[in-house]
Amino acid sequence: MLLELEDVKVHYGKVEALKSMSLHVDEGEIVTLVGSNGAGKTTTLKTISGLRPVTSGSVRFDGRAISGLAPHQIVRLGLCQSPEGRGVFPGMTVMENLEMGAYARAGRSRPDLGPDLERVFALFPLLAERRSQPGGTLSGGEQQMLAIGRALMARPRMVLLDEPSMGLAPMLVAQIFEILAEINRQGTTLLLVEQNAAQALRLAHRAYVLETGRVVRSAAAATLLDDESVKSAYLGGDATAGAEADGAPGPPV
């Protein structure tokens, strides 16, 4: 088990945002969290990455308790988050944004980023063309690619993705999801939060359904995709849209 949350409670002031969150992600998996707005999907990711303090319960990464650590310490363990709204640094160039992604790795000596840049540019050739352009001038899709590429620069074992399809055209979404599948094939574990549940379920191996701060269902993604109650609640009866993104990988090896 690479990541494990056990009975995690999180408060915003007096409001209980996570009531009793328990989930786990195994090495090599793609797991997705689906649920409506306010179900606690983003809060769960922010809690894992250390941005939100845990009231009680435990978060373990690779067998180590991380719930008390600061975000920058968690990144160094190989658990990296690509934030909601992309969070590209607008005043920095594409190259500088990517270098920021490797910030956690740069110890005393300057690390060689060459192979990492090559990998990111191979996944996102567009970024190579735009490398000296400020992040703020990129289109939404390009910013999303940059955010994902930047997360990879840390050479993480696991990446948390918050709404990678937000605000993107369906074509682009399909493309981004294909790349996510490729990143997973290259050995990175993914935990994905998505509004676009149909797309996410097609990509993922397993899924958790969240409601008001707790897990109400957990099953293989394919099972949920065919489930009538899930279809009506989260897929809006539109589970066939964007079906061309069949780059979804098989079960983890």
Binding site: L51, H72, P83, P90, M100, Y103, A104
Partner: protein, 280 residues
């Protein structure tokens, strides 16, 4: 960088001026001494400046530690930080007023102020050259530092989006502390240059330069180092042009008029805000 103007920065500068004065005394430089030249001048200037930079830098770091960090931890509103800055500012001013009096303290003359040559009707003096060259070197160093080094990138990333920066592995508290240290070091160096040029120290000496620095920063666009440099030059030119037209006593009025006008009509500064433009 934190969407926070440290209005107590004036006092960090003031402490730099005082530290320069004490450093000169400690070096045995007295008012009656003949002005130094050559190596002796360079060495004593360097020592004085390092002492001032350390004093101001430490002040800035302590200020961040005892005042701003606790506020940040509690997620206090920005107004609270602003009021805190005013409080620290008054506290430090009065502390120095009580300890060293409210009168102007004179500086010993460290260097000979000889006219080098005339340039288009302006006389170019040795001390002016020193101030200009040092200021340019410091600005250049700061610009390169922020653009090139890992810490510089951390500072810029934190300024643009602190939460995302922390997700990239930036230790926000540490970066903020180092930013204060950097600002303090520069204010200390400025204090030495001010002391050598104006040869005066007083408890409230930081007030006007502080406001003018703020004006220059606003003029150039907050959060933009090159903009601040351009703003500073522009403000200086405007001031001198204004005092030439209206008389020297209007100089400061002119500076504040510029501040008010910029805030009214172009609050993002002349070069615009380079940060946060694409913020969602």
């Amino acid at each position: 960088m934190l969407r926070l103007i440290n209005f107590a920065h004036s006092e960090i500068f003031m402490i730099g001026v005082f530290a320069s004065l004490f450093a000169m005394h400690a070096l045995g430089i007295d008012a009656g001494d003949p002005a130094r030249t050559g190596l002796a001048l360079g060495a004593s200037l360097l020592v004085v400046m390092v002492v001032a930079m350390v004093a101001s830098g430490l002040t800035a770091v302590i200020m961040e530690r005892v005042a701003y960090r606790p506020l940040r931890r509690r997620g206090a509103p920005r107004l609270a930080a602003l009021i805190t800055a005013v409080g620290i500012s008054l506290f430090l001013q009065e502390l120095f007023a009580i300890r060293y009096g409210r009168e102007v303290l004179g500086f010993p003359r460290l260097m000979e102020k000889r006219q080098l040559f005339e340039l288009g009707g302006a006389n170019v003096r040795t001390d002016k050259v020193l101030v200009l060259v040092s200021a340019l070197l410091l600005m250049l160093a700061l610009d390169r530092f922020v653009a090139r080094t890992r810490l510089g990138r951390g500072i810029r990333a934190t300024a643009q989006d602190a939460e995302t920066a922390s997700l990239m592995g930036v230790n926000i508290d540490r970066v903020i502390m180092l930013t204060f240290l950097l600002g303090g070091l520069l204010a200390g160096a400025a204090g030495t240059l001010y002391g050598v040029f104006f040869e005066a120290a007083r408890y409230n000496i930081g007030f006007l330069p502080g406001i003018k620095a703020f004006t220059a920063a606003v003029l150039g666009g907050i959060g933009n180092i090159r903009g601040a440099l351009a703003g500073g030059l522009l403000l200086g030119l405007l001031e001198n042009w204004g005092s030439a037209v209206l008389g020297g006593e209007w100089k400061d009025v002119f500076a504040f008029t510029v501040l008010v006008l910029v805030l009214m009509f172009r609050p993002t500064g002349l070069l615009g805000e380079s940060l946060g433009r694409a913020r969602a």
